[in-house]
């Protein structure tokens, strides 16, 4: 059981407006795996990821992270948890007016004092590490450029570098390639696979395209209307499962 990093049991999320976004979702994430979550828009994928790092508070159920119960936490405990969990987003969520390096350094905010961070006194080792992270995603030479001047794919790589600087044990990726063109899409997915395989960081990733899922995922879970409807290897998603997850009229789109 030691290789189970994240154990989610009977997780429910009900929003203040009454929307029941997750219904009794249970699954495990093993250390070092590349788990992909699929499902239609509104099926609860984003909510699921956000419950793990408490961007949204879970309503009921249990989340165990490395055998620690993290279901209900105080705000300082939440900050502690988030230091160990990196996250990247569909729209990158960088700070547009700041430089690439400064954006990456924000991955160190959790371990830097408030005043020090406001005056940009990040530690020497964090600065060095930030450049290494940029190197890892292949855009070290862009360090001094403003983040909003990069292309979408490059911005997502900056976001990956920011998450890496946290030194996370697990990386949550919420539709990381949904706003990118097919070519850049593969480059970003390749970097995710690289940090998964070379750094051994567990990845939980929401994806739209089944072709990408087959290419990158080591395991897949599927949500439909907030319920877990599939759990298994990407090769097992055949035509009938596909229809079950995406609805009867759905057609698979391939991107290469």
């Amino acid at each position: 059981m030691d290789d189970i990093q994240l154990k989610i049991s009977n997780l429910n999320k009900v929003y203040d407006n009454g929307v029941h976004a997750l219904k009794n979702v249970s699954f495990n994430v093993k250390k070092g795996e590349f788990l992909v979550v699929i499902g239609l828009s509104g099926s609860g994928k984003s909510t699921l990821l956000r419950c793990i790092n408490h961007l949204h508070a879970p309503t009921s159920g249990q989340i165990l992270f490395e055998n620690r119960d993290i279901t209900h936490l105080s705000s300082s405990e939440i900050r502690g948890l988030r230091k160990e969990i990196g996250m990247i987003f569909q729209h990158f969520n960088l700070i547009p007016r700041h430089s690439v390096l400064s954006n990456v350094l924000m991955g160190a905010l959790g371990r830097t004092g408030t005043l020090n961070s406001i005056f940009k006194f990040f530690s020497e080792s964090d600065r060095k590490r930030a450049l290494e992270c940029l190197n890892l995603v292949g855009i070290r030479e862009k360090a001094a450029i403003r983040a909003d001047q990069l292309s979408g794919g490059q911005q997502q790589r900056v976001a990956i570098a920011r998450a890496l600087l946290q030194g996370p044990k697990i990386l949550l990726a919420d539709e990381p390639v949904a706003s990118l063109d097919p070519a850049t899409c593969h480059s970003v997915m390749d970097y995710l696979r690289k940090i998964n395989q070379e750094l051994g960081i567990t990845i939980v990733c929401n994806l739209h395209f089944l072709s990408l899922v087959r290419q990158y995922a080591t395991r897949v879970i599927a949500l439909r209307n907030g319920e877990l409807v599939f759990e298994g290897s990407p090769q097992n998603i055949d035509e009938s499962w596909f229809r079950k997850i995406y609805g009867e009229s759905a057609k698979e789109v391939h991107i290469n």
């Binding site: 988030r82 230091k83 924000m106 408030t114 961070s117």
Partner: protein, 345 residues
């Protein structure tokens, strides 16, 4: 037949009731022509108002039962509206209602403001105006140095008021933004501050100047304090609206790194709002220069105080010089602030 929605359309009743009530009151006044005595009787006034409002509400209820399209039902339509059920005998009732309301308001307004063509073209008055304009158009430049010293005082008054308001407004802007103050306890603070600022803002800078001219004495300090209080309230509102309109993405991005609240505000919120903040602030300074002139009239110091002194003695050529100085400086401030705001876009 489609059932009308069960929910009471309160806004509709309120609008119609006030409209009808107003018309009823005016009709009562026009018919009975009561003496000025009744204005001394407070309970009679409120009683009359309430009675008119209730009668208006009754009228609007009756019209709704008859399915007549009133102004209220046009502006605040019910969710479910059955067009076929509309009363055929009074089509476009709401148009009649609107025009009646506008015409009555206009007539009453004309009577109340004592608008009079005879006074506008009265010979004595007209000659006085001609004398005044003649004086204004031949400004006496001897007072120019004094006017310049005073306008500098006014500009600095506006500058200090704006500068001192910035830190207060900056902090308040986050405490008055709904998207920051989500927590229930924080929401209470938000409501309290919002209400306080709304009250502060609804009191004109002119009134603040009167208060402070008693508090700290007549002079530029009173004017500066008045402008500062007003600027804090106005800037905090504009700033907080800016904070409320920012995108949530960067906030999630920064939060997910384990940053605390202050770090999140500093890195995710501030970069998004800083340029609009500067733009609002420059504009506020511009407004304050204009307001500082007016505030001087009630003892706030600066060029306004000088203006009221010469005006009181009917020294129109001197007043002309002062107005010229004000116009030039306000125009320059206006141009400069427009240029800066354009450059920041």
């Amino acid at each position: 037949m489609i059932k009308p929605s069960k929910k009471l359309n309160l806004r509709r009743y309120l609008l119609d009731a006030s409209c009808f009530g107003f018309l009823i009151l005016i009709a009562v006044f026009a018919i009975f022509q009561p003496s000025d005595e009744i204005w001394r009787n407070l309970s009679l006034i409120f009683g009359g108002l309430l009675a008119a409002l209730l009668m208006g509400a009754a009228g609007s209820y009756l019209l709704e039962k008859l399915n007549v399209e009133t102004l209220g039902s046009v502006i605040f339509p019910d969710r479910i509206q059955s067009l076929s059920a509309l009363n055929k005998r009074f089509p476009r009732f709401w148009l009649v209602q609107l025009f009646l309301f506008l015409i009555v308001t206009f007539v009453v307004g004309a009577i109340k403001t004592k608008a009079s063509f005879t006074e506008l073209f009265d010979e004595d008055g007209f000659n006085g105006a001609v004398r005044l304009f003649a004086g204004l158009l031949s400004p006496n430049m001897d007072v120019l140095p004094k006017a310049l010293v005073n306008i500098i005082e006014t500009v600095f008054m506006a500058f200090m008021a704006t500068a001192l308001a910035i830190p207060f407004a900056f902090v308040l802007s986050f405490l008055c933004a709904r998207n920051i103050m989500k927590h229930p306890a924080a929401f209470a603070v938000y409501m309290f501050l919002r209400t306080g600022l709304n009250i502060t803002r609804s009191i004109e800078a002119l009134i603040w100047a009167i208060i402070f001219s008693v508090w700290v004495g007549i002079g530029p300090f009173a004017g500066m304090m008045a402008l500062m209080i007003h600027s804090i309230a106005s800037l905090a509102k504009q700033y907080s609206e800016m904070v409320e309109s920012i995108s949530e993405g960067p906030i999630e991005g920064i939060q997910s790194t384990g940053a605390n609240v202050l770090q999140t505000i500093w890195f995710a919120v501030v970069p998004q709002v800083i340029l609009p903040y500067i733009s609002f602030t420059v504009y506020r300074w511009d407004i304050n220069v204009r307001m500082a002139t007016i505030i001087g009239l009630v003892g706030g110091g600066g060029i306004g105080t000088m203006l009221i002194q010469y005006q009181g003695q009917a020294m129109w050529p001197e007043v002309g010089c002062i107005i010229l100085v004000i116009a030039v400086v306000v125009w320059m401030m206006d141009q400069a602030s427009a240029y800066i705001r354009e450059a920041l876009k």
